[in-house]
Point group: D2
């Protein structure tokens, strides 16, 4: 249950689509945290906030001002991706704990300073919002692996297949999001790294080398114009980890039945499938269309509760001084793989990694 110490006072940066959800969660679903402030540059967004968030919430349009507020213990950064690195650095500098939506940045270069700053300020918790790790079914899977129920895990096959949006929204979005292997695949990479324990130094011959090789390919089933931006609407990837395990994943923007986020973990004693059927509810219909279920339409309907668990976990890590599960370093490690996959896809060849853990791009 809940202890009665002082609550963690959180300010939410950015109340666009995801920010609204985060602010609502902090306001109404976190027993040990409270929403004290919201910061957003555009006035319209604050109107939503004023109409929907608790009385007493402070509103800022200037991040610096918000970070200077002594009533703010921590910030949840849900603003546009391009603002993540600077805001995170500023918050660390201001001594505020940070929960930053993934990714730190679509650029590896911009992510590195954040990782460094986080390392230099251990008194500040910096957690990156890899929401999938906070989902109950993935956590159960991790627990079963740790309990030895799968024997030795050796392979993960996963898929993140978004429901097709005929408006083509994701095409414009593609340029900002870092293409499919970064935008969409980073979750699959993060989950595979976690479940396959690829950071564990005991399983590594060279301490910094976690990945041996990556290979990616892709095709455009609906939107050939994505090729102009070096992107695709269906991507396939194979990652060889240094600890001897492998993962493959299939990323897509063209599913017709809903958002289908699937993961299969193979071990010597059995396998686990997460979300074999992406059901929306416990309702099954039997009619002239068959025996059927409806699917979660998007990732938010699939992971709604994970976002609550995420912010509750962050709160607990701060209040109880525990290490955060999804560090900036682990986010960077996943991003390096995503970036290498993008390079592999664009250059049509496997990419090997050197002993320092860097992809050899030539």
């Amino acid at each position: 249950m809940v202890s009665l110490e002082a609550k963690l006072r959180i300010a939410v940066f950015g109340v666009g689509r995801m920010g609204q959800r985060h602010a609502t969660n902090v306001a109404y679903s976190t027993p040990r945290a409270q929403l004290v402030a919201v910061c957003h540059i555009k006035t319209e967004a604050l109107e939503w906030a004023k109409a929907n968030l608790p009385e007493g919430t402070k509103y800022y349009s200037d991040p610096a001002e918000c970070l200077a507020d002594p009533d703010v213990d921590a910030v949840l950064i849900a603003s546009v991706t391009s603002s993540h690195p600077e805001l995170t650095l500023e918050a660390i500098k201001a001594g505020k704990h940070v929960l930053c939506e993934k990714p730190i940045s679509i650029s590896i270069e911009e992510s590195i300073p954040v990782v460094k700053a986080a390392a230099e300020h251990p008194e500040v918790k910096v957690m990156i919002g890899f929401s999938r790790r906070y989902d109950a079914s993935y956590r159960e899977t991790k627990g079963r692996i740790e309990a030895g129920q799968l024997g030795t895990p050796y392979l993960i096959k996963s898929a993140t297949n978004d429901q097709y949006d005929p408006s083509g929204f994701f095409i414009a979005y593609s340029k900002l999001s870092g293409a499919i292997f970064m935008d969409c695949g980073i979750h699959d990479i993060d989950i595979a790294r976690w479940l396959l324990d690829v950071e564990n130094p005991k399983k590594l011959s060279k301490p910094k080398k976690q990945v041996t090789r990556v290979f990616a390919t892709g095709l455009n089933a609906q939107h050939p114009e994505l090729a102009n931006d070096g992107d695709c609407d269906n991507g396939l990837a194979v990652v060889d980890f240094e600890n001897g395990t492998k993962c493959t994943f299939h990323l897509s923007r063209t599913a017709t039945h809903g958002h289908d986020c699937f993961c299969e973990v193979f071990g010597t004693d059995g396998k686990i499938i997460v979300n074999g059927n992406p059901t929306m509810s416990r309702v099954e219909i039997r009619d002239s269309h068959g025996v059927r279920t409806e699917s979660t339409p998007n990732y938010y309907d699939r992971f709604r509760e994970a976002f609550v668990t995420e912010v509750n976990t962050f709160t607990e890590c701060v209040l109880d001084d525990k290490p955060v599960p999804t560090t900036a370093q682990s986010a960077l490690d996943a991003a390096v793989i995503a970036s290498a996959l993008t390079y592999s896809f664009r250059n049509e060849k496997p990419i090997y990694f050197d002993d320092n853990g860097n992809p050899i791009l030539n």
Copy 2:
């Protein structure tokens, strides 16, 4: 989302197992309500409360005192069943809105005054906690029926099968809970009445007669001693409604795989199954035991979110002055059917209903 009017101030009566869950929900999961007080006779229970509930909560051991508190707008009654009628009556008298755990009472006679008091005090909302109606999948089912997706619904087959508890706890509990058709079956009855629209006067030849006949039988698969109390560990029931629809249900205490709460609604254009597989999560395991899922162990794991929706709905009904979905009258109507089924089971014959809606017991 949420409007910013004053919150509904709720006192929780009883913080035993269910009361703790309710108090936690009111404290941390209800945007428009707040927990202001807890009332429990035993000091130990209040210790749990003090350690787990928000600072500022008031504590009472005398219900009358709590009801006299002007900061209390509404009460959530989660104390022992035998206390429900009196507490509800006192609360209504004190002008407090009431959300009372089901059933009002295991006795029809004791329930009637509550129904009357609720009718005489329309300024006070009285809602009975038929949690299953607040479950997302049942609500989706109701919505699909109302949208005509099933054509005309004509039959419900449902099952509430509790996981077998070899300790035999439920045997002692049986004497207090009113036997299986009342304790367990009342949910199935309530859901059937709701989904089959049996109260709708347009479908009734006689305004007060909703039920034509009930028939029940039972057996003891594990605990023959239940026969001594006129109870059984597996009950079967058939209910003929006056609007031409029927329902059957199977209540059991002897499932080995978990809590299995199943509902099948048959319509002329299709059928809906709720919870065909009582999965605990989205995890499937494939190993030497087969391709398999684990089940929700008990009703609370199955209906955890429904309890939150229930108290949020109650809050909304009070603050927005809407009619409550699960009235005292509907609870009584369900209880009358449960009671008639118990009589049918004990006397081994079908029970018919008269034009006033009363079972003919002779």
Copy 3:
């Protein structure tokens, strides 16, 4: 595999819809039997036979002539139900083994002489075609029960829901088939009797009394005119067996998704579900209608292989002189229950059985 003794020479009586299937099975799918003759009164049916059955098959339009053929060892009776008793009696008299499609007759009175004749001629095998017992999944279920995997079985809930045929074919058919509890329910009754071991004398206080009480009700979801013939398009039944077990079943002509034949066997250590999803194949479709499977459209698609196993079992029983699994006596016992259920449904009351195993109809 197969031994090389002489094959069983079978004549098929009646090559209407079911007879064609049986004749084809005997001709092409029975390693130890061969089709030697076909008998059908109408010439058109024989045309089908001549075009589709092996060369060398003999054709008869007079049953007596066919029964006099010394090359015929056994007959498979698939003609209209009303002809079953006489043909079976004639075949027994002629010393031919008999596999007769269910039911022996829709009349208990007409069935009794067949049961007697079978008893008086143990040298002739008389088997009734309760095809469901020869289905691999039901046989697996029986095997699991006998292996103790369910502990003590105590309850069966089954359903035979035919796909709705808007042409109303079954309404005309209803008059000939003995109404839904006989025509359709007899399979559920037979399966329940078999799986619950209700004939086992060790479990019976009175040797002849297998059933304590039956209760049936029904409604017409699509065809109110069925009421004129004492029939319904949805029937519900509860049967209490003398050995302490029970079964319920739901018979229907109004399923929209296909033929859905479902069985749930409850035991103290677990339960088995047969055909939880009546899939037609191993294909699942995920598209704008959801995640879905198509269902077997009718009982023949569901039980195609069971009919082959049935005739192979019959052949084996004759050639190896084994007792047949589905005797005329067991068919009669099931029919008596079906008949009592029909009476219960029409007279709206439970029907009890006397110590001789006869229903008390008054």
Copy 4:
């Protein structure tokens, strides 16, 4: 149904494990074919045959003698793989139709003369036993694709995961079978080529080039010693077809729950999954191990009926002079891909194909 012309007279070569199944199918499950002869070098195998196959079957231990028998119209070659090419060539020379178990050979070089001989003798039907194509669910999938139900298919993800055999039988077998991509993957390749219509000249820029590139990797979860033979117990492959579609597959010898043969076909309007759950029957068990089904233990239990359909299709192709679905050429095309994947796996790099359809191995 069945026409009454003369039956196809088939001799079965080899009555080892698979040959026994084929011989039994030809003897007892093929309305238009009959088993006339069996040829096997070892006497013990013929003993099984004499005890289990129909009287009148002829027995040979010399293939040449059998091929000289004028009563033999066609041969089904189910002897050891190494004998396939020579026997097929001899049979073609003798003017006998041939149904040869897959593969023609594990060597591309040895396969080519067979393909040429088949091309030069169009009067003789030569069909290779790619049994999976004759499975009802794969055929239904092909039909749905051809009917346009998936829109444009663009990707196949398939898996052939054999149940782990702790005896390590497959390790010794590995040396004879051509390693996992050839032995096991050739089915996945054949199915992908068929469902994705990769041979269709209208979709190809260069008439002979069907494949652009292949990439394979693998690991040994249970048997590191397989590395010595250039084999693995888990293989992953990506194939880019020239028509713009792709396929990936996962081959494994280490599944613990049974033989799991899975296929997912992605199209612009939907996707199809074949065998999402490799159930053995329609039985589901709910007990202390969960809600569960048992899986087909091996490929034969999964594809039992496909083998019957295969030989019936062969018979039909010969008797009705239709083109065979699985030609020697298509078997060779699949083998070339399998061989390139093996090379990719062993040399750790993608393999490209030239304009003549040959892999560029350097």
